[in-house]
Amino acid sequence: MKDRSIFIVGSAGEGIQTVGDVVARALLRSGVSVFTSKEYESRIRGGNSSYRIRASGPNAPRHDADVILALNSTAAAHYQDTASSNCLVLGELSPGGEGIRVPFQALAKEQFSSLLYANSIAAGCLGAVLGISQELLADTLCERFSRLTEEVLRLNVDALALGYKHVLPSLDASSTIVLDSSSSAHSFISVHDAIALAAVAAGCRFMAAYPMSPATGIMTTFAKDPELGVFVEQAEDEIAAINMSLAASAAGARAMTATSGGGFALMTEGISLAGMTETPLVVVVAQRPGPATGLPTRTAQEDLNFAIHGGHGEFPRAVLAPSDPKDAIDAIYRAFDWAERFQTPVLVLSDQFLADSHFSVMDISIPQTPVPSGLADPSESGAYQRYALTEDGISPRLALGQSEHLVRIDSDEHTEEGHITEDLEFVRPAMVEKRLEKMRRLKREIPPPDDYRTDDAETVLISWGSSRGAVVEAVDRLRGMGQRVGSLHFTTVWPLPQLSLPAEVKYWTIEGNATGQFARLLQAEGDIQLVGKIERYDGMPIDAASILAELAGDHSEVDA
């Protein structure tokens, strides 16, 4: 059997992450590919949250579950509507709920005199249902908790065995799940893991940032792994974060920062400063639903307009929105490269869904060499001028302190030398033109959107950023039903490439906001007639089922 969706549900702090991680890794070690995602409330303890594993299916979310493992009965009741037909519910059942009842906590207390072992019992139960060998499960658990003492580890293995054996008699042929497996190794990686590693490989050496969900993980990766050589500082606010990073870049250190929408609001003056001072800077904006504090732990694609327009005045920039780890590595390399060569800010949009999802990816690789330095050779300069007017708008860039050539970087409108100017007749228009010429040159490098099965398509789904997996799955499912559907997916969302789209095709846009931000952008930049817009703004990721439902004019699945 293929494509199984497993939800591990409970309250925050109860251990769904632990159970989920052990089971997901054990599945991978069984040769089964998994895609995991998380949805949770903005709190440390309590509430309802879920760790979702999609086994031997595509790297895309599913809104319904074939197996629900409930760590408490409140969660079992909360998530019962997500059950697919023939869903197996396991664990602490809701009052009157059907399924295999396993009292994890009672068993833990009875057998181990401690509630701490409930999660290992749960992992054992779920592993048995999924047909993972007990030995492999135990081995994975020991690997995951290698920091524990041998005694505690042994007790956890015993607890796991207890859960495993407890549930086995309740399983019959119809309730045991057999998953597709292969002998290939998968990398189990999140988009934010990929962003951090790719940034280091691209040459990033400096990051100042302020913690904000869902962007914090990138900074944490650098902080916990000093060998990566990134100077990382938790700034007092996002304003300090971007000014530190930008100035470090001006002094020759390849730099980035990361935040979410609210933090980006504080950074916008700094984005404008990067534009004016022509300083390379990569800024990751991990989106969550707004406005204001919004839904801090949920997902959205609401900050597209903000990323494109945030910052006063007119200056060049690019905005990239990767969809998966491989795409993120490409996007980060491209972002640092464009930032270096066009001496301007480049934004990378991610979101909570991407931050908290792990993908099974084969053959993932990161380039062995950093992005080439955009710094000029000081020996080639005569009298140096930081903002020398050139045909392509790009001035040879020296870093502060790179040589005896004095570098003057100025946020005021400036002369070629970098001094304040009020010359409105020549210098101001020339500097405006210089900056905008860089945008024209940048636009020539924009790759076309990713084209999936559009050759004979009558309907084309247009999407951007994190929704690619869901859109591709929707296309495949519609094709399977005999419909001629394809998709165009954009990773570079600003500037847009020149598009020539056949007029006779029915175009739909799909995005995670309520106002069709990308749809409007497309219509403003090119001649395109849309037959419809699919917009999701409930805080959950776009999934194939909701796309199919919307296309069919049935909204029930979206509301589920």
């Binding site: 070690r29 990398s187 590693l197 990566l228 007092e236 300090a240 100035a247 002094a251 004095l406 946020s411």
Partner: protein, 295 residues
């Protein structure tokens, strides 16, 4: 000793004729010259305001950024290139007002930078509004009935935070200010020097008023004595004891731990990271299927 002519630039000066900013500028050039810091060894950082134009008038590397943001910018530059002497030169509105939060956290970090505050107790470039250091009750072109809130006490705050070098200078005392600036620049760690500066255009007091109140700190003051240093700092805004209020040598300088790992010099000169480090992190994320054992 580098002659001060070598710090001349071609930028057109935009200060009011006779502004005490000229005194601060000259003192800074003299201090740099006597410390043998050539223009390319220095990075002057500022925000926005009349004082923040100083970097354009002294030959050095320049980062003239955003209002209030000179300190985080200077920290970024200092970490990226510790070979540069990074000096912030900006006004009281920029450093104490718009950038106050950054100053507070700079005390905690102790970066190896010098911050010179041109403290004229007024917003001059925006034409005469009260600043964080304007005395209570003084009338301005915004506070028409007089400033209704108390002035900030950032030097005392600096000392409370154990800022490693805290001094007060007077723009009209060229020689004394030059010496103070030299000590501030030579200090390893964060040095804050508040320079009392009459505003000859918008100020409420004549130069003589300042001169009377800018008196040297008594010679028996012990700058390692925190409580006495705070008491001296708190004499402002009624009087301005001039000299080093507080000095504390031994404290870890921001970025030291990082430097112990990656070595000295500008970050752009560091060797690239060994690709094997990235590959090993990627490899750690790879999960190989184990031989399947039946359940």
């Amino acid at each position: 000793m580098i002659p001060i002519e070598q710090y001349r630039t071609t930028a057109e000066n935009q200060w009011c004729p006779g502004c005490p900013n000229f005194g601060i500028q000259t003192a800074l050039k003299r201090a740099l010259g006597s410390l043998n810091l050539a223009p390319h060894q220095v990075c002057l950082v500022s925000g926005i305001g009349q004082a923040a134009k100083t970097p354009h008038y002294i030959a050095a590397h320049v980062f003239n950024g955003l209002h209030g943001r000179a300190i985080p910018a200077a920290i970024g530059i200092q970490i990226a290139n510790p070979d540069l002497k990074t000096i912030v030169t900006s006004g009281d509105g920029c450093i104490f007002g718009e950038g106050g939060n950054h100053l507070l956290h700079a005390f905690r970090r102790n970066p190896d930078i010098t911050v010179i505050v041109h403290d004229n107790q007024i917003y001059a470039l925006t034409k005469g509004q009260g600043s964080p250091t304007t005395r209570r009750g003084e009338k301005t072109r915004m506070q028409f009935d007089g400033v209704a809130i108390d002035p900030s006490q950032m030097l005392a705050t600096a000392i409370v935070h154990d800022c490693t070098f805290v001094a007060r200078g007077y723009a009209g005392d060229l020689e004394g200010l030059t010496e103070l600036l030299k000590r501030a620049i030579e200090h390893r760690g964060f040095s804050l020097i508040d320079v009392i500066q009459p505003c000859i255009t918008w100020g409420n007091h004549p130069v003589a008023w300042y001169k009377e109140r800018a008196t040297p700190i008594p010679t028996d003051h012990d700058p390692t004595h925190r409580d006495r240093a705070i008491a001296l700092a708190l004499e402002a805004p009624d009087s301005f004891p001039i000299g080093v209020l507080y000095e504390k040598p031994a404290r870890e300088v921001f970025g030291e731990t990082y430097r112990q790992k990656v070595g000295d010099g500008p970050i752009f000169k560091l060797p690239p990271l060994a690709p094997s480090i990235i590959q090993s992190r990627l490899k750690a994320m790879q999960i190989h299927p184990a031989p399947r054992v039946g359940a």
